[in-house]
């Protein structure tokens, strides 16, 4: 089962307990995340032309240099965290990377000096904080049930982990802000500054794919 999804395993990096593995699946995600991180580092942000209500002229929204620096740094942190989440083969480590991506997402939009954007990012932050309970809780329960957190060891243990998998998926949904919680995140995309906002979207997509892989293998 495991080999059919992740493909060929090229090698592992044994950092003590925390094991990074290079399989065909994880290398693809890693490379995509790294390419987008470099793109975010090199490109300049977009300029938005906003139509005004009850007025003739349009307004040009420019991202100031101070704001740009913070948002670019947070976007790069987000990209590195996504790349790390692709490679790791430890369940708790993966949950930590997920939460780190959530924090970086809040950081990307928190530098925007707009009332509605900050409001949306506050709502998303609340959901991300609440979602740590099912995420880390399920990791702890899997550890209590099977005695290991390694994704290489978990498929070999014949224990039903259905409930833990369900709440892990719920925690992932809250942390990345997908469907049931999307309303809080949708407003965040309206902030000016294209490549940084793209990073929010890309990281959550890659993490969903990786979570599906993990839930299918363990």
């Amino acid at each position: 089962m495991i080999s059919s999804i992740i493909g060929q395993l090229f090698g592992i990096v044994p950092f003590g307990d925390i094991v990074f593995g290079f399989s065909e699946f994880s290398i693809i995600g890693f490379v995509v995340a790294l390419i987008f991180t470099i793109v975010v580092y090199l490109t300049k942000p977009e300029k938005q032309l906003e139509a005004q209500k009850f007025r003739v002229e349009d307004k040009l929204e420019v991202v100031s240099l101070e704001e740009l620096k913070i948002r670019r740094m947070m976007a790069i942190v987000c990209g590195i965290a996504t790349a790390g989440a692709m490679l790791t083969y430890d369940l708790f480590d993966y949950a930590l990377f997920l939460t780190l991506v959530g924090i970086a997402n809040i950081g990307i939009v928190s530098a925007v000096k707009k009332d509605w954007v900050l409001n949306a990012s506050y709502q998303y932050g609340l959901i991300a904080m609440i979602a740590t309970l099912p995420l880390f809780g399920s990791a702890g329960m899997i550890l209590a049930k099977t005695g290991t957190l390694s994704l290489f060891e978990l498929p070999k243990i014949p224990t039903s982990l259905l409930f833990e998998k369900i709440i892990f998926a719920a925690g992932m949904a809250g942390e990345t802000g997908i469907a049931p919680f999307y309303a809080s995140k949708a407003e965040m995309f309206r902030a000016p500054g294209s490549p940084y906002i793209l990073m929010i979207h890309l990281s959550s997509l890659l993490l969903i794919v990786r979570t599906v892989e993990i839930l299918l293998t363990i």
Binding site: F92, L96, T99, L100, G102, I103, I106, G107, S110, K113, K114, D115, L118, N119, S121, Y122, G125, L126, A128, M129, I130, T132, L133, F136, G137, A139, G140, M141, L143, A144
Partner: protein, 231 residues
């Protein structure tokens, strides 16, 4: 079932999840943003309870990153709240208070008519601060540093409550101690390395790292009371 830890696992899970669900209910009823944030932090504490339910050494190692991550999220969201508050109140300029300045005695705000200059208000902060600093110096290490910092903070904040300024001599001394903290840090690191490199001289290394840490922590934490005094 010989070990008591096994029997504690199920109650811990039930308590953790019920605290989480009750906090969710409370967040649902909440109208104030700040209260919702604090209740979300309660959910994260319930997360720590669930991890602690595993009850092994590994669980102890997992609680620390969980705590750090939850604190980072709390800081990020509160930073968002502060920025939003700042944007909303940009037009009206509100008066900014220093730490503990709002607890000023009525004596110094001029609301009280009678002149009640009490000697104990001036002497007791010094007394308590000296006792705490001496006790912290005896303790040494990280705990001693925290005790020293408590003494310094108590002195600075009580001076602020009384509406007095800290005298220049004390400020200079304080700044000098903070300047030492870099050297003290080096002492701590070398003392710590000494444990591994020269295990024979462990007592010297212990004293070196303990004294370095006490100066470092005491001066750095005590600086909190110093904030706002700098011109």
């Amino acid at each position: 079932m010989e070990n008591i830890i096994y029997s504690l696992y199920h109650p811990t899970m039930i308590i953790g999840f019920s605290v989480g669900i009750l906090s969710l209910l409370a967040i649902g009823f909440q109208k104030d943003d700040l209260h919702a944030l604090i209740l979300a932090d309660v959910v994260e504490c319930a997360m720590l309870v669930i991890i602690a339910g595993v009850g092994t050494d590994l669980a102890e190692a997992l609680i620390l990153p969980g705590l750090v991550v939850s604190l980072a999220e709390l800081l990020a969201v509160s930073e968002v709240l502060i920025t939003r508050k700042h944007i909303q109140s940009k037009n009206h300029d509100s008066k900014k208070f220093k730490l503990f300045e709002e607890f000023k005695l009525p004596l110094h705000t001029g609301e009280l008519k009678y002149d009640i200059e009490m000697e104990v208000l001036k002497t007791s902060p010094k007394f308590f601060a000296i006792i705490l600093i001496v006790y912290g110096a005896i303790l040494s290490g990280f705990t001693g540093g925290a005790v020293i910092a408590t003494g310094l903070l108590f002195y600075a904040l009580s001076q602020r409550v009384l509406g007095l300024n800290i005298s220049d001599d004390v400020k200079t001394l304080w700044e000098g101690m903070a300047g030492l903290s870099g050297v003290a840090w080096a002492f701590w690191i070398f003392g710590f390395l000494g444990f591994f490199l020269f295990p024979k001289y462990w007592l010297v290394c212990l004293l070196m790292s303990g004294l370095g840490l006490v100066i470092k922590v005491g001066s750095k934490l005590g600086l909190v009371g110093y904030i706002g005094e700098v011109k």
